[in-house]
């Protein structure tokens, strides 16, 4: 059955996060030919609406207001719900990001509907929109449907491939003015951590370090390897707690959940809380000096050895390969 699907575009530092485009791809499946409506909420949206159209939106509704400069559940829910009221979508897709996780349950509650969180896949089967999601820290999966009412899901970044960007696509962009008022939480201060470069949750290649890295300096060979591969550096909780790196690099249940094409774990033991954040990676490499380390159980390829010896050699070897290519 065709459905009108609303996709919330998520903005960070002035650009759309990839998960917004992945949401449009999910919407293409869910819509079965129905209209795909992108929704943008913020203080100054510039030309972002065009990006949503290029990635598959048929139409965009924007809500712009000074009070939406920072995400707050009250502000963003008022904005999004006014779009829902006007447009009456039959399905809604958000990213399963800090923002999506915080906002989607409130909207679902307001609309009195079900919500399927953290989907890694969507398909149409037996006339239903079926979502697949990890459960039990990624040790099992479930397929879930919405029994009736609005089909609402949040999708895990980096799992559903975005559509090809088509700059020739055109679509209508309309502004909706919503009354944003009575914000009960106010963001006073945002401490951005010094994560330069690639967003971990969107990275295709991640080189991650654990307590085995032994010091902040110990991360430099990992950074060099990541640079050679055009990837990002991540870390285990162990490394963050030991102050070898910032918590913004943390991967796992309490940190970022990542699904890169290649995950290279260096000096990480492979605790379940870490695996919960990366076991869906397409290819996993483990470098650990303990042959019994749990990380080898999820690794596709493993090297038992000292990371300080292995990682620089790997960087060198990849450099040679990439020069040839």
């Amino acid at each position: 059955m065709t459905k009108k699907v609303a996709v919330l575009g998520e903005i960070r530092d002035g650009s759309l996060r990839n998960v917004s485009f992945e949401g449009l791809a999910a919407a293409r499946t869910i819509a079965e030919g129905g209209e795909i409506l992108a929704v943008l909420v913020g203080a100054s949206l510039g030309t972002l609406a065009q990006d949503m159209i290029h990635y598959g939106a048929d139409r965009v509704v924007t809500v712009e207001d000074e009070k939406l400069a920072q995400y707050t559940p009250d502000g963003f829910s008022q904005a999004f719900l006014s779009v829902v009221e006007q447009e009456k979508p039959e399905a809604i897709v958000f990213g399963h990001t800090a923002l999506g996780k915080d906002l989607a349950p409130k909207i679902a509650s307001r609309l009195g509907c079900g919500l399927i969180s953290d989907a890694v896949d969507v398909e149409i089967a037996g006339g239903n929109v079926v979502f697949t999601r990890p459960i039990y820290s990624g040790k099992a999966f479930e397929k879930k449907i919405v029994s009736d009412g609005i089909v609402f899901a949040t999708i895990r970044p980096n799992n559903i491939a975005p559509l090809e960007k088509e700059t020739s696509r055109a679509g209508e962009v309309t502004a909706l003015s919503a009354e944003i008022k009575d914000l009960r939480t106010i963001v006073r201060e945002v401490a951005k951590k010094a994560t330069q470069g690639v967003d971990l949750s969107e990275a295709k290649i991640i080189v991650a370090g654990g307590r085995g890295v032994k010091s902040a300096d110990g991360f430099s060979p990992l950074q060099e390897l990541a640079d050679v591969l055009g990837g990002a550096v991540g870390a285990s909780r162990g490394a963050c707690d030991a102050e070898y790196c910032d918590y913004s690099l943390q991967i796992g249940q309490t940190g970022k959940v990542v699904t890169p094409d290649l995950y290279i774990a260096c000096g990480i033991s492979g605790a379940i809380q870490h695996l919960a954040g990366m076991s869906n990676s397409k290819v996993i490499v483990a470098i650990n000096k303990d042959p019994e380390a749990n990380i080898f159980k999820v690794a596709d390829y493993g090297i038992v050895g000292d990371l300080f010896e292995v990682v620089p050699m790997l960087a060198e070897e990849f450099k040679n390969l990439l020069i040839k290519a």
């Binding site: 040790k139 397929k143 945002v190």
Partner: protein, 257 residues
């Protein structure tokens, strides 16, 4: 201060997971307090220690949840409430649980409600914000710091590694992130005392809720284990050979480089 904690009994995901008759096999499995709810319990006790008042821990589920509630009492909570749904509802989802919790909480005049940010088994992270919405109070999720003065509240929220300082007011619902505190272990005297602390058991009828109102909005149609990965290949030989082989495998076999 009137403090409530939402506590879920969860399967310990450190355990091996198997499937029997289309469901996760719970036979002989270890059950624990959801780890993020332990942070919530600890924070609640600390709030009471500095502001006075009472900590009530609430859980929705079956009879077995009593054990985890007793543990929370042994940590230092004052009262526990088990909303036992065993006889009334066979299948529930996040809407079900939130609706039941909100119905229980609506006339309790809670100053603050503390939940975990996510349950490690079903892992949706929905229940906190849903309950807050149903009670029409503000919420802040994944917090790592909480300061209360009068009815003014300052919270540090973890946002994918960045932190936001948020100002809000009571009544409030927060969800706990790792880093908020170090949960205490129940002491021996704590465990003895817990046996005498009140643990109330309620059913849907006691809450004036019909089964219809809490009917799940979503349905699980299949549960499966990920395809068993072939045992990873641990490379052999001198370090330099292993490194060369790995690069070649990633390039030619896995094709990720």
């Amino acid at each position: 201060m009137n403090i409530f904690v939402l506590l879920k009994r969860t399967f310990d995901t450190e355990e091996k997971i198997t499937i029997a008759n289309g469901a996760i096999n719970e036979d002989g499995a270890e059950f624990i307090i959801n780890p993020y709810d332990e942070y919530a319990v600890e924070e609640a006790i600390q709030l009471r220690e500095s502001h006075g008042g009472e900590v009530t821990v609430v859980s929705v589920g079956g009879e077995d949840g009593e054990k985890q509630l007793r543990t929370a009492l042994a940590m230092g909570a004052d009262k526990a409430v088990l909303i036992n749904t065993e006889d009334d509802i066979e299948y529930g989802d996040q809407h079900t649980t939130s609706k039941i919790l909100a119905e229980y909480l609506k006339d309790k005049e809670a100053d603050i409600i503390l939940a975990g940010n996510v349950a490690i088994d079903c892992g949706s992270g929905q229940v906190g914000p849903r309950v807050a919405d149903l009670l029409d109070i503000p919420y802040v999720t994944t917090i790592t710091k909480l300061e209360i003065e009068g009815d003014k509240v300052s919270v540090v929220r973890d946002v994918e590694g960045d932190s936001e300082v948020i100002e809000t007011s009571l009544p409030l619902l927060i969800t706990a992130q790792q880093g908020l505190n170090e949960p205490r272990y129940p002491s021996l005297p704590g465990i003895m005392k817990a046996k005498k602390k009140p643990l109330e058991e309620l059913e849907l009828d006691d809450l004036d809720l019909d089964e219809d109102e809490v009917e799940a909005k979503t349905k699980v149609i299949e549960i499966f284990l990920p395809p068993t990965k072939e045992a990873g290949r641990v490379l052999e030989g001198e370090i330099s050979e292993k490194v060369k082989e790995l690069v070649s495998l990633l390039h030619k076999e896995a094709k990720v480089i």
